[in-house]
């Protein structure tokens, strides 16, 4: 974990109420795809944890959806403004799970933390199939970006306004073929269905209301087969067999 000052380089809406925030600063604490950053905001006591979509030594991109007053405040911020951010939080995905072909299943902005994972897997020559699920076409994010990495992408929408009508699970039959592992991030009910439907090893990135974001307050504990675990520090990524849904 590292605390640092970051300068906003851009902050733009890329889909319905969904924004990408690009900041510049010391990103050295972030080591694995699936880790998150925790942003302090004037006027709010707690930080806002946001998944890291991609990063390098001095820049990172965070995707967020405006769901409350805090994210509304972030959305109103402009380039040049400064943010106090904790980086390098959480465990991240285990990119070594796959040796041939991996499946990534995301719901909504869950498509963000798996993006760097897909990039790493592709760099190792791993085939990556990606299912991106949304409520409707106006929410779609990162479809082109995943395709640009060389991933095979299937989009599902609940209302059928784009891609396959239905849920991500409706695309599993075609997309999971020959995959040796999966990674999932999105609504809990979606991840539970995905973990239940797939026999191969997999990981899911859980979400919970957090206090500290760094493991000291025990405010985001979840049940696992290995006992109580903190989503922020022991997770957010857990092996599917360890999660008690």
């Amino acid at each position: 974990m590292k605390q640092g000052k970051f300068i906003i380089r851009s902050n733009r809406e890329i889909a319905d109420r969904t924004f990408i925030l690009e900041v510049e600063g010391d990103c050295s604490a972030t080591e694995r795809a699936g880790q998150f950053a925790d942003i302090a905001l004037d006027g709010f006591f707690l930080r806002r944890p946001l998944a890291v979509m991609q990063w390098d030594a001095t820049k990172m991109s965070l995707i967020y959806k405006v769901v409350g007053e805090g994210t509304k405040k972030i959305a109103a911020m402009t380039p040049g403004e400064q943010l106090d951010i904790l980086t390098g939080l959480g465990n991240g995905f285990d990119a070594s799970l796959s040796s041939g072909k991996a499946l990534i299943v995301c719901g909504g902005i869950g498509a963000s933390p798996t993006f760097s994972l897909a990039k790493q897997l592709r760099e190792r020559g791993i085939e990556v199939n990606v299912i991106l699920g949304f409520n409707n076409a106006s929410e779609i994010i990162l479809e082109d970006e995943y395709k640009a990495l060389g991933c095979k992408v299937a989009v599902t929408t609940v209302d059928g306004s784009a891609g396959v009508r239905g849920f991500v699970t409706d695309a599993l039959d075609t997309m999971a073929t020959d995959c040796d592992c999966f990674y999932t991030c999105g609504p809990k009910i979606m991840m539970k269905a995905v973990c239940g439907a797939l026999e191969i090893p997999g990981e899911a990135s859980l979400e919970e209301r957090m206090g500290c974001g760094c493991g000291i307050c025990y405010g985001c504990t979840c049940h696992t087969s290995k006992g109580p675990k903190r989503v922020c520090a022991d997770g957010p990524v857990f092996k599917k067999e360890d999660i008690v849904w």
Binding site: A40, L46, G211, C212, Y218, C220
Partner: protein, 314 residues
């Protein structure tokens, strides 16, 4: 060259932050409060814990506890509500695993925070804590608002608080016992005095204030348990008033706790009568809060013309 305050200019050499609490030496009065700093180990990678005055460890019970279901956290103006519900690995794991691991990286004062659901449980837990050489002070929590049938129930009546105090004092030997009091009472002075009469060596106050937030879209409380403990800068004036009242009415030292967020708050809490100051919710917003406060305290003391922090109660 001396300044008009008698403090050497250009440095902190004549300022001392040292304090003594129940015979235990603290290099400074800054102590992360129980429940906001884990078992210390969680923060070891972020800064050198040895700069702290002491650490009050996460609340511990006789048996391991999962605590309450999530959500356990609700943000508030000036702080947050938590309903963790005393999640902890139990006193045996504390003694066998956490304390030896902490001792390897940290040499300062250690305050164990003990909770229970019956007097018998408090006693059994304190017996084990008293035996642990790493523990300097036992802080007995009779004020957790997040558990049923225990915790705060012992801290909301003078008689029950005195019973717990007497029972644990009998098994703690020479180890100082500090009772952590609840603000959710009609008369905290009466309870504080009852603890003192029952043999308490010190007092910690205040624990969190029982509170609630409602998700107006879902028409349900935000925390799963319904109510939780409110802490953060919003409760600082309340904590300060209670510390001032209790420190004026009792002869045993007080650890001041509640909404402390800066070195200015530390000095203010000590002017209210605290001998040590715990920093709680602020650690959740800024995990480096205690480090920042410790580093800035001498400069503030110099600015205020304080050579030391003893006897500054107003």
């Amino acid at each position: 060259m001396r300044g008009r305050t008698g403090i050497q200019e250009g440095g902190h050499s004549m300022v001392t932050t040292k304090v003594n609490f129940c015979g235990v030496h603290f290099k400074n009065p800054v102590v992360p409060a129980s429940g906001t700093f884990g078992f210390g180990l969680e923060m070891a990678g972020s800064f050198d814990l040895n700069i702290l005055g002491g650490i009050s460890l996460k609340g511990t019970t006789l048996e391991p506890r999962y605590g309450n279901e999530c959500p356990r956290i609700a943000e508030c103006p000036g702080g947050l509500i938590n309903s963790v519900g005393l999640q902890n690995p139990g006193i045996d794991a504390l003694v066998k695993e956490k304390l030896p691991a902490l001792r390897k990286i940290y040499k300062g004062a250690v305050i164990a925070n003990i909770s229970g659901f019956s007097i018998d449980e408090y006693v059994k837990c304190c017996v084990k804590a008293a035996d642990a050489p790493e523990i300097d002070i036992i802080e007995v929590n009779v004020s957790c608002p997040n558990v049923h049938g225990g915790g705060m129930a012992f801290g909301t009546s003078a008689e029950a608080a005195a019973q717990v105090t007497k029972a644990v004092k009998a098994v703690c030997g020479a180890k100082p016992v500090c009772i952590k009091l609840s603000p959710n009472v009609t008369d905290i002075i009466e309870i504080a005095q009852a603890c003192e009469e029952a043999g308490a060596d010190g007092l910690t106050l205040i624990n969190t204030v029982l509170g609630m937030r409602i998700d107006i879209a879902r028409r349900k409380p935000i925390v799963a348990a319904g109510y939780g403990g409110y802490s953060g800068p919003g409760i600082f004036p309340l904590a300060l008033r209670m510390v001032h009242q209790v420190s004026g009415a009792c002869h045993i030292p007080v650890m001041g706790c509640g909404g402390v967020a800066s070195e200015r708050d530390v000095v203010e809490m000590m002017m209210a009568g605290a001998s040590l100051v715990q920093v709680g919710a602020e650690n959740l917003r800024n995990p480096m809060a205690c480090k920042d406060i410790v580093e800035h305290l001498p400069g503030l003391m110099q600015e205020l013309g304080l050579e030391n922090l003893n006897g500054i109660r107003i």
